[in-house]
């Protein structure tokens, strides 16, 4: 049975893109791209950051019109003027940048514009909340449906968005990096849902930078490079091999990914030491995870990986150390001296840096230029004593990071919102690299970053560590954690549940540690 | 005394010195008569002044002395007061069509406007080139004063040309800008007629800046500052409506009636507005305040 579904069926294409081109001011994002999607198949859309994937998907979902080219959906020419046009035809989109409404509750977001009505034709809140429980349970979420979305972690928001999309009647589902903030468990669950949808005849377009995922689930792949079609790949018997994909993406043979670190000698002193750390319960968010007495040591020159499931409190830990959230109890020592950062400004002054996980809300200044986005945390370095900016130095610094991180941008003045997601992430990384901190905390540092650049980021982290910087890396992508960490801790429910040297760790062992606590709790 | 009488004294807006003076006079007379006074500032809003009257009625005031912001819009509130048996004396602006108002003490703004224009005509018997600065569009005194000026000047159109007629919203800063524009566009006029003293003083500044010191500028309200300007020859004249006398008379009438139902000798006390010039400065009510 499944074999049948997997065969490239002779069924006509549900969606055909013919010679689509898209220009932005000064940039050609897509140039003469053609592809097809058939019912009941999952088409992977792959390419480096800025290759034009999101642009294509946005055109298909009616967010923006193409500059030229033709789209045929279900045999009829399709010119969507707005997302509503696409939705009406059964094209449902999960966007790369989260598009939930933060002020509304989870339930309302799921039922946006289609709230269930009770008697008298009035909205039935009870039914809405009940129904939404079921919908989010499908993706493995267990949230109080009346929680405002603004209180959710990025991963949870992503899951809510997926859940909403899945609850709509659809013929084509467009998924732009739905898994970028998810951990293995959620990804597995999503994959099985996608598989079920495929069997129901729904077509799916799937974008991801986690190539293993793509290889595991996609029937076919279309690869973009610099806005052009680089080629199509077919599943021939087995999954499409990673090196083949990478070669198509970057145009040369793939170097090895995720090189395991050679055991480095981390002989540094303890730089950061956390004891008995507890955070305040936010009265506005009583269900939020709080830290329950975290102990942690971070040595100079070490990369400490932090693994955990969604909602395990990793982000809370990072924010607490960084002075972004209030601490209820516990001590933090930096180089043996107790510190009590009351604000990020204090923490930064002490030499701590944080790359936050929520790029859109916590990191980028969307309308401002790349230059400002880059230098904002180190203005002192790029200005003189009188307070005037030393723009030449600033530009030179950005130019050098642009090269090392291969940031694709038109000019330093370009508003950062015009960059692809991955390139935005690189600018934010550059922001903190430029500060040269003693302790650098990176929360999902490669979220949305493409394979090549991901390897670069990993290398940079290793270099930084080699220079004596203490690095704490939170990542939901276990291969990444395994690739760069000297030591790994696992968290669950605001507690540290395990620890092991990076060299000894395997995915299985980590998963076990992350779940270990679960077992214990079950017996309590 | 046993129970002291309480009266409401309400003026259109304490943002204008004219009404500040009026309320001060009401206050002084109330003190002299030994009655309590509830003060009310209409804040340039008919609903606000109405609300103040309503609040006073709840407090069972014995009489109301009011200079209504708008003679039409305040009519219902005054009617309500009359219905509640509270004697009402209006000052300055007369409310038509409401039966049972105890008395009106006032100097008509239309008459004032006429007097102002006539003073100008007298100064320029052979005709003149004029600017006219009007008050806030739609506001009662602005309408009336404008009407008065035009009553006089419209029949004399050939001799007295208004080459520039703009509102400056009763404000000095606006009058200055508007006059500057007028001077630049039309050159020097012979006279500028203004709907209040503030605007006249703004026009004075504009003319002084261009060294047009012989332009005859007329104001309205006879504020102390304007009287000084008249004395110093900067203003040609300003219209005196005797707000202090109006106010005191009104309070006297109201209190007398509230005390022992003494009917006023006249239901309508009209003071004739006059134009104060250099020669009759002593007629000005507030000359004493100019140091």
């Amino acid at each position: 049975m499944p074999a049948e579904a997997l065969e490239p069926s002779p069924s006509p294409a549900l969606l055909a893109v013919e010679g689509v081109t898209k220009h932005f001011a000064g940039v050609t994002a897509l140039s003469d791209v053609s592809l097809e999607v058939r019912p009941g198949e999952i088409l992977g859309l792959l390419g480096e950051n800025g290759a034009g994937k999101s642009t294509l998907l946005n055109i298909l979902s009616g967010v923006m019109p193409p500059s030229s080219g033709r789209i045929v959906f279900d045999g009829v020419e399709f010119n969507p003027h707005n997302p509503q046009d696409a939705k009406r035809l059964g094209i449902v989109t999960i966007y790369q940048e989260l598009s939930l409404i933060p002020t509304l509750t989870v339930a309302e977001n799921i039922f946006i514009g289609r709230a269930p009505l009770g008697p008298l034709g009035l909205v039935s809140w009870r039914k809405m909340e009940e129904d939404s429980r079921g919908i989010i349970a499908r993706v493995g979420l267990d949230l109080y449906p009346a929680t405002p979305v603004s209180a959710l972690s990025v991963a949870e928001q992503q899951l809510v968005e997926i859940a909403r999309a899945l609850s709509l009647k659809s013929r084509l589902i467009i998924m732009d990096e739905p898994t970028s903030a998810l951990t293995e468990t959620e990804v597995q669950r999503l994959m099985s849902i996608m598989d079920r949808l495929r069997r129901d005849g729904v077509a799916i377009m799937f974008v991801t930078h986690r190539l293993e995922e793509a290889s595991a689930i996609c029937d076919r792949m279309t690869v973009l490079r610099d806005g052009r079609l680089a080629g199509h790949l077919d599943r021939e018997g087995g999954p499409i091999k990673l090196p083949k994909i990478i070669e198509k993406m970057v145009g040369r043979a793939a170097s090895e990914l995720y090189a395991r670190p050679t055991q480095r000698d981390v002989a540094g002193d303890v730089r950061l030491s956390v004891r008995g750390l507890r955070t305040m319960r936010d009265p506005q968010a009583p269900h939020a995870i709080v830290l329950e007495g975290v102990n942690l040591d971070l040595k100079a020159g070490e990369i400490l990986g932090v693994a955990g499931l969604v909602g395990s409190g990793r982000t809370e830990l990072a924010r607490a150390i960084f002075g972004a959230d209030r601490i209820a109890a516990g001590t933090i020592m930096l180089d043996g001296k107790p510190i009590a950062p009351a604000s990020p400004a204090d923490a930064i002054a002490l030499g701590i840096g944080l790359v936050p996980e929520d790029r859109k809300h916590q990191a980028i200044f969307a309308a401002l230029g790349i230059l400002t986005n880059f230098s904002i945390a180190s203005l002192g370095r790029y200005s003189n004593a009188a307070g005037f900016m030393a723009e030449r130095r600033e530009r030179e610094a950005l130019a050098s990071y642009r090269k090392t991180l291969s940031i694709r941008m038109a000019s330093p003045e370009q508003a950062i919102e015009g960059l692809s997601g991955g390139n935005q992430q690189k600018v934010i990384l550059a922001r903190w690299l430029a500060r040269d901190p003693k302790v650098l905390i990176v929360d999902e540092p490669t979220r949305g970053v493409d394979v090549g650049a991901k390897a670069e980021v990993h290398q940079i982290l290793v270099h930084l560590a080699a220079r004596g910087i203490a690095i704490m890396m939170i990542s939901s992508e276990l291969p990444e954690v395994l690739a760069v960490s000297d030591r790994i801790v696992t968290m669950r429910r605001g507690r540290i549940t395990g620890e092991m040297p990076g060299i000894e760790a395997t995915e299985e062992k980590l998963m076990e540690l992350m779940a270990l606590d679960q077992k214990q709790e079950a017996t309590q | 005394a046993q129970d002291k009488l309480t009266i409401l004294g309400s003026v259109p807006s304490l943002g204008f010195p004219f009404f500040v003076h009026m309320l001060n006079q009401i206050k002084a007379e109330a003190a002299a008569q030994g009655v309590n006074l509830i003060e009310s500032d209409g804040q340039n809003s008919a609903p606000k002044q109405t609300a103040d009257i309503e609040a006073a009625l709840v407090q069972k005031v014995n009489a109301i002395v009011i200079s209504p912001l708008d003679v039409n819009a305040l009519a219902p509130a005054i009617e309500e007061a009359v219905k509640a048996g509270v004697p009402v004396v209006t000052i300055d602006r007369r409310v038509d069509g409401v039966e049972g108002i105890l008395a009106h003490v006032g100097a008509d703004n239309v008459k004032g406007g006429e007097a102002e224009a006539q003073a100008m005509v007298a100064a320029f018997p052979n005709g003149a080139k004029l600017f006219h600065l009007q008050g806030q569009p739609g506001a009662g005194p602005a309408i009336d004063r404008n009407k008065g000026v035009h009553n006089v000047l419209d029949p004399l159109k050939d001799k007295y040309q208004i080459v520039f007629e703009q509102t400056a919203n009763f404000a000095r800063a606006e009058a200055l800008s508007v006059t500057e524009a007028g001077l630049a566009a039309n050159g020097k006029p012979d006279a500028i007629i203004c709907a209040n003293d503030d605007m006249a003083l703004g026009a004075v500044e504009a003319c002084a800046a261009r060294n047009f010191t012989d332009v005859k500028i007329y104001g309205f309200d006879a504020l102390p500052e304007a009287l000084v300007a008249v004395r110093d020859g900067k203003l040609a004249g300003t219209v005196e409506q005797f707000p202090g006398e109006q106010s005191r008379t009104a309070v006297q009438i109201a209190v007398a009636y509230a005390r022992d139902k003494t009917e006023p000798k006249e239901k309508l006390v009209l003071l004739t507005p006059i134009v104060i010039g250099k020669d009759n400065l002593d007629k000005a009510e507030r000359l004493g305040e100019t140091k």
């Binding site: 967010v63 514009g113 | 609903p47 305040l74 219902p76």
Partner: protein, 338 residues
Amino acid sequence: MTSTTEQAQRGGINVARLLMSFGPLMFLAVLIVVFTVLKPSFIDPINLFNILRQISITGLIALGMTFVILTAGIDLSVGSLLAFCGMVAAVVAKGGTANTLSLSTTGTQGYGWFAALLAAVVVGAVAGGVQGFAITRLKVPPFVVTLGGLTVFRGLTLTISNGGPISGFDASMRWFGTGLIGPVPVPAIIFAIAAILCHIVLRYTRYGRVVYAVGGNAEAARLSGLRVDRILISVYVIVGFFAGLAAFVLSARLNSSEAVAGIGYELTVISAVVIGGTSLFGGIGSVGGTVVGAALIGVLQNGLQFNNVSSYTQSIVIGLILILAVAFDRWLKSRVRR
């Protein structure tokens, strides 16, 4: 914010908790107590009904403004639009030209109160719609469009009225401003009904929820397939409608439509909405809050006047108390634990 919103959204009403969690309401209660202690006649039904009548005009507009601000918009034109609609209503009621200054109510060449009301609300709604159109199609920010509207409508009003008021309506029309049903003033009843309807619409209809969504994040709303432009236009139609309704009631109450009516109302109205907890950045707020905000302002003004506080001091006290009421609300929100 969140906690009240949630609470409001769940629709449960628990007086003590409401008081405790919503600063302005608590402030309102305290003010009423203080004013009553200072002068017991403050609590007279007559005075309370006076207050209700007084807040009903700006209150009605504030209801419409709540919709607008929920979408992160703003309408500065409401004061001028009120004057304009009032003048239109007067022209219709009097059956013609301006300068019909006679106070006589008998010479009815006019078209009666119903036509006047209809004219006022239709003109208001259309004017709002035109502004909404400029906002969505010409992509001019609401602040600019409605600031333009503020001066345009005032100019139009002065033009049709030639600067003067139009006065003297017949008794059937005046009833809407001065009448009583039982002891309750008609304007207060109109306000109450309108408030309840608006509450139901915002809270229990799809349309209402969509208004919140657009204000929460217009781009996300668009991506979710909502017709954002139409919704935006609709809220300006609504506020225009309410400006028209308020104009009718005000004209009926004053027995006169004035060219200078409503000057500065935009700030009073927006204050009522914002003090009531609606965020100027959209997506958060409620009709209940707006009613409380309007009442707070009304009670303050009336209470201070009642105690014969000098008008200058009134300004100072009102300004400070408004700030304190909101500050207190923020403080409560940061403390309340659930």
